[in-house]
Amino acid sequence: MNNFIYKTDSMVEWLTNWLQQHLHNPLLVEIVKMLVGAGVLAGFVSVLAMVLIYIERKVAAHMQQRLGPMRVGPHGIFQTVADSIKLLTKECITPQDVDRFVFNLAPLVCFVAAFVSLSFIPFAPRIQAVNFNVGILFILGISSLGVFGILAAGWASNNKWSLLGAMRAGAQIISYELSAVLALLAILIFAGTLDFKEIVESQRNGWWIWRAHGIGIVAFLIYTIASTAECNRTPFDIVEGESELTAGFHTEYSAIKFAMFFLAEFINVFLVCAISATVFFGGWMPFHIGDMTALNGIFDLVPPFVWFFGKVFALVFVVMWFRWTFPRLRVDQLMRFEWKYLMPLALINLGVGAVLAAYGGFFFNKF
């Protein structure tokens, strides 16, 4: 029965076959495949960011008893398109006293880090731009590059608000990354692999959040908090801290450079939610309940990418919900929270998880 989900998406296979028939050169086939993948991913990223910004504005509006964008297209769905075109065509200011090279490089670093990380995510079986056997390690490494972009932006802007924002970002993101990685490690012990594809496969009999004896739930909570902080989202948005630092590290950025930071922020949100969905909620795996074969069969009919995006957007909604509910922490409270509470908890969680994985085995194998 589970074979059904494999039949729906043989696009990549079809593309490979088609290319092989017409090109006859394996190297060329690989190159064309890469280009197609990059193109698709770039298009996907742009659309995704616009959709996320639109969702953010609508979610915010409805939480605040407003309507949100309404006039540009039906229910304002082209609002972010208008914003993007406007931002792309605005004058791009490079202030006089900035470090020009670093100033112009910084938004690219942020954007590329987010963009590249997305290529490791398995959206559906075999729909994955790059398959890598240490994918999760790589993604964590690449996504931490983003902080260099933020630091560089703040430093090069020659603006004290930017500098404050950048210094906050450096401290915050590096600290919270520890908790996020430790939380993921606890699950990786159970899964026994660093390959995204295999992590998804390992959840065929149940999602790790349920199956890991409570370790999964704790790890998920830690990861959600830490990853919210990593994306600089409220309540951890002290990096931008609009009411304190005007706009933080991107105070001096305008037009397309600012748009890149803006896009990177939303792609990062999507990214951490995608990692969360993949590691804790079975990625594109449909939801199964024990022996209820009929129900499971119905769930199997839903295409896997719907499952994946459904899970990710549910998590994205939670992150947005945070943003429109919570106030912002102060910088010292933020660091205290990480080093005194979150990281020790993540370490204990990892330790307990390791012991359980070594001796306890799985209680819920039948799922």
Binding site: A60, M63, Q64, Q65, R66, K160, W161, L164, R168, T234, P235, D237, I238, G241, E242, S243, E244, L245, T246, W324, T325, F326, P327, R328, L329, R330, V331, D332, Q333
Partner: protein, 377 residues
């Protein structure tokens, strides 16, 4: 919780101190206040406010206008307490000229002023949330404020700068719907305050950010002449409506909201409590108000302010406003000095912010609830 660092100045070499300009255009200086902050890392070593970016010369302008014309300038001082400013000025003129005010007008003044107080605190509550990084309370505060604006609009046609209370009473009587609408608002708003409490007061981050932050001791508050919620949050039971009764305030049963801690949290809960007390006053005033009657004393065409000094004080949403009037037997005042609450309240701010973080500047300034045109006049 005490201040995170007490004597950073001694510890840090000077090359680590740096100065940042906060304002005049900054999202959380509530207009165009400018502050120069000396920092070591994120810790505030000192702060100097620079005022006057909306100094409009109102005191000079009063010397060229008649007493009744000046009323419209008082709206624009603290535009969130427009009714109370009008009232305080009207009291000054009435005192100078010995004008009596009809009883119905006195009640209308009380109701309007208390509604203004609620509207002002609602706006403050929303902006306070926004300053702390939560955007949603801002919209909730404005949602409820619109109802009060509707009531104002029906009484005088204006939403913000009312010019409704004038020497001799109020400019015009309210419409027949006024009482019902006001009562409906009171009924609507009572549970909404509890919603405010759940949405913001109960939030652990808000409490972490405000409790113990920016403590203003009672003796310093008194020395700086702080008034209003800022003073009452420092544990001084001082409210002009009680301690220096004017209008018909002595006839109402309400209590002054006082909190002894003097920190940002105290200033927060004092304002929430004041909203509740204002609702109480409004209900009583609506019950006691004569249903019919004149609302304005007939005034002579020119009001000559007799020679001498006159002063009236009123409790606005931010504290005590006082108009000091010097007359010299002419229709135009010889000198009007406006003592505004925000000016005095803000003067205590640089002292208490030392040792706190950049983010706390925003928090504490927000709980001081300054309105910059009120400072600058």
């Amino acid at each position: 919780m005490s201040a995170p660092t007490t004597d950073t100045k001694a510890k840090s070499p000077t090359y680590q101190d740096y100065f940042i300009n906060m304002g005049p255009q900054h999202p959380s200086t509530h207009g165009v206040l400018r502050m120069i902050v000396k920092l070591s890392g994120e810790t505030v070593l000192g702060l100097t406010p620079h005022l006057g970016y909306v100094h409009r010369g109102i005191e000079k302008m009063t010397e060229a206008q008649t007493a009744v014309q000046i009323t419209h300038l008082t709206d624009r001082l603290d535009y969130l307490s427009a009714h109370m400013n009008n009232w305080a000025w009207s009291m000054t003129v009435e005192q100078a000229l010995g004008i009596a005010v009809p009883e119905r007008a006195e009640y209308l003044r009380v109701i309007m002023s208390e509604l203004t107080r609620i509207a002002s605190h609602q706006l403050w509550w929303g902006v306070f949330g926004m300053d702390l990084g939560a955007f949603t309370p801002f919209l909730y505060g404005f949602r409820d404020r619109e109802m009060i604006n509707d009531i104002f609009e029906k009484s005088c046609g204006s939403r913000l700068t009312m010019n409704y209370i004038c020497p001799g009473g109020v400019t015009q009587d309210v419409t027949g719907e006024f009482e019902g609408e006001t009562r409906r608002f009171v009924e609507y708003f009572k549970p909404i305050i509890e919603e405010y409490e759940t949405l913001v007061s109960g939030n652990v981050i808000i409490q972490e950010r405000t409790k113990g932050v920016g403590i203003l001791p009672a003796d310093r508050a008194k020395a700086y002449g702080c008034t209003g919620p800022v003073l009452r949050a420092s544990g001084v039971d001082y409210d002009l409506r009680k301690n220096h009764p004017y209008g018909v305030y002595p006839r109402f049963d309400f209590r002054t909201a006082v909190s002894p801690e003097g920190d940002s949290w105290a200033r927060y809960i004092v304002r929430l409590e004041e909203m509740r007390q204002s609702l109480k006053i409004i209900t009583q005033a609506l019950d006691q108000m004569p249903k019919e009657g004149p609302v304005r004393t007939k005034l002579p065409p020119t009001l000559k302010i007799p020679k001498g000094r006159y002063m009236a004080r009123g409790e606005t949403a931010r504290g005590e406003i006082a108009f000091f009037l010097v007359g010299n037997d002419s229709p135009k005042p010889y000198r009007v000095k406006i003592r505004t609450p925000c000016f005095s309240n803000l003067s205590a701010f640089p002292e208490i912010i030392k040792g706190w973080r950049v983010a706390d500047i925003v928090t504490v300034l927000s709980t001081f609830d300054v309105v910059v045109p009120d400072i600058d006049r």
